[in-house]
Amino acid sequence: MIVANNVSVSLGRKLILDGVDFEARPGTLCAIVGPNGSGKTTLMRALSGDVAYRGRITIAGRDIEALKPWEAAAMRAVLPQHAALAFPFTVHEVVKLGLTGGRSGVSAAEQRNLPDRALARVDLDGFAGRFYQELSGGEQQRVQLARVLCQIWEPVLEGAPRYLLLDEPVSSLDIKHQIIIMDIARAFAQQGGGVIAILHDLNLTAMYADNVIVMNGGVVAASGSPSEVLTDTLMKRVFECPLRVGALPAQGGPFVLPQSISGPPA
């Protein structure tokens, strides 16, 4: 379990996160939603150990500040929102970087094929020999995900669940690849790992998340299951725009329909 307890982050004088409490259980996909500037990415960076914070964050009961980098790397993998790459690495080489310090959990013999398997999972078969810099933004994002998957390929290692921290994993993907990637995330959770993902698409959130955290102004505005959280009033208040939340007849899950702000809905 990843637990954040009363976590606050300041950048300069500005308070970005103000006393956030948060929990991500293994076996679940936890979505973080909220408007721009609400503190989603800062929360993710605090969970990844990238920014200094007050309060306490633990992973499997261990304070993340006390973890050695390689210990943390064996417990969680992080997909950043933007990943710059210096030097002309091939796609294969980038994915293989995922094996730098973590523990994939597969045998040494299998590990040699792991980059190819990871690329196949993100629908990039045959891209191994291409240069990373020559790919489109969406393709690059999937290469990065393949790299992240290599790091903790087995969702559970020696009985300990592991975590994927994904900052907007589908932001530049087409609909087909959004679904492929979200399916990977859900499968990871179903096999016993934990997933924390920042998402902008509320319908993908409704479809895939077991648990939703709504961030607003640096605090948690609400948390719970999608049907508990994705309500007309809360969404309107948080996103400050008209939204209509309906229920899908088949699964009974919510769906969100954006409305024009300037004109009244037809």
Binding site: D50, A73, L85, A86, P88, T90, E93, T100
Partner: protein, 366 residues
């Protein structure tokens, strides 16, 4: 996956399409290692004088009596002129090239070169301090450290510049290319200004040492110099491969490297100290030989890719070959006189640098 029993050429072919360039890289390293041996052997026989390296080798192996008479002149030429120079060429060439590659990995930028960003100038300032003040205010230091005073002070000079450079150019794990190059210019200018002050107070004899040394040359190669610098440079060359995986991860940025399990802060500290020590040692014995640190890694990246596990050893080998070759040119082209090697490397390196700039203009635009 295909097993390793395939022939080398087979695996090279396979490597291309699979994006795994390590088979090619291993082959290139093997060839470069052979190249070092061949170049060293050729350098031993090349020179202004017609000394027979073969006769000297025979003399070493079989002793004086069995091998027949050996002229002292030939023995001195091979043993005291060419051999220390070749060793120094190998040390300095591999040291500068590997430092360049490591520095580029650290700054995540192919333009970082010890000469361009002021590290060499800092080392020069340290070395000049010893040359000029070694007899007066720094005399106690020289008395204690002996032949190691020069490389040690060069190391301190380059360390200070590298630390300042890193502090100025890197903010929150992101290195600004423009800031790095501009800070490098400023730090070079500062180091040279301070060097200028020392040059001003230097006496005539020291001045001669200085001008000779500032041009960059292996001509001053002697066994004591090889002995003084080789532990530092060899230590750096041996240490570098241990940084390779971390430097690879650093290509994705500091934060991602940390997520991948790399102890980033420690890696940065170790690389900065290593680069400073190696550049310091190189500059202390050979002066300002430029462009090796930028040309060699860049050339290799074109063939074997940027993976530091292969790039670092390959850079050391190619650096050694290039400097030995450049030195052979400098020794023979205007024989019986000699062209400073810094001129040879700059004549080849500067146009190459411009070519990189042209190719990568989009990346460098500020």
């Amino acid at each position: 996956m295909v097993s390793d029993t395939h022939s080398i050429s087979g695996s090279v072919m396979r490597g291309r399409s699979h994006g795994d360039r390590s088979p090619i890289a291993r082959l290139v390293i093997l060839l470069l290692a052979l190249g070092v041996v061949v170049t060293a052997a050729l350098s031993l026989t090349a020179g202004a004088a017609d000394a027979s390296a073969y006769a000297v080798l025979r003399h070493w192996v079989f002793g004086g009596s069995a091998a027949g008479p050996l002229s002292l002149r030939d023995q001195v030429i091979i043993q005291d002129i060419r051999l220390p120079r070749i060793l120094m060429g190998i040390l300095v060439g591999s040291g500068l090239a590997i430092s360049g590659a490591v520095l580029q990995g650290l700054f995540r930028n192919p333009l970082a070169d010890p000469g361009l960003v002021g590290v060499s100038a800092g080392a020069g300032l340290g070395a000049v301090s010893i040359i000029v003040l070694g007899g007066t205010s720094l005399a106690p230091v020289v008395a204690v450290l002996g032949i190691y005073a020069l490389p040690l002070f060069a190391f301190i000079g380059s360390l200070i510049v590298t630390l300042i450079l890193y502090r100025v150019a890197t903010r929150q794990g992101r290195t600004s290319i423009a800031t790095m190059l501009l800070a490098g210019i400023a730090l070079s200018a500062l180091a040279m200004a301070l060097t200028g002050v020392l040059v001003f107070v230097a006496d005539d004899r020291q001045l001669r040492d200085l001008t000779f040394w500032q041009l960059g040359s292996l001509a001053g190669a002697t066994w004591p110099k090889v002995a003084a610098s080789s532990p530092i440079i060899l230590l750096g060359i041996v240490a570098a491969p241990f940084m390779a995986r971390g430097l690879n991860a650093l290509a994705l940025g500091e934060a991602t490297a940390a997520h991948l399990g790399v102890p980033v802060q420690r890696l940065k500290h170790v690389t900065i100290v290593m680069v400073s020590a190696v550049v310091g040692a190189c500059v202390a014995i050979s002066g300002g030989i430029g462009f090796v640190g930028i040309v060699v890694p860049h050339l290799l990246r074109l063939f074997i890719g940027p993976d530091n596990r292969y790039l670092l050893p390959a850079s050391a080998l190619l650096g050694a070959i290039m400097l030995m070759a450049a030195d052979a040119v400098s020794r023979t082209i205007v024989a019986p006189a000699e062209l400073p090697i810094g001129i040879v490397t700059a004549a080849v390196g500067a146009p190459f640098f411009l070519w990189i700039l042209l190719r990568r203009r989009g990346v460098i635009d500020l």
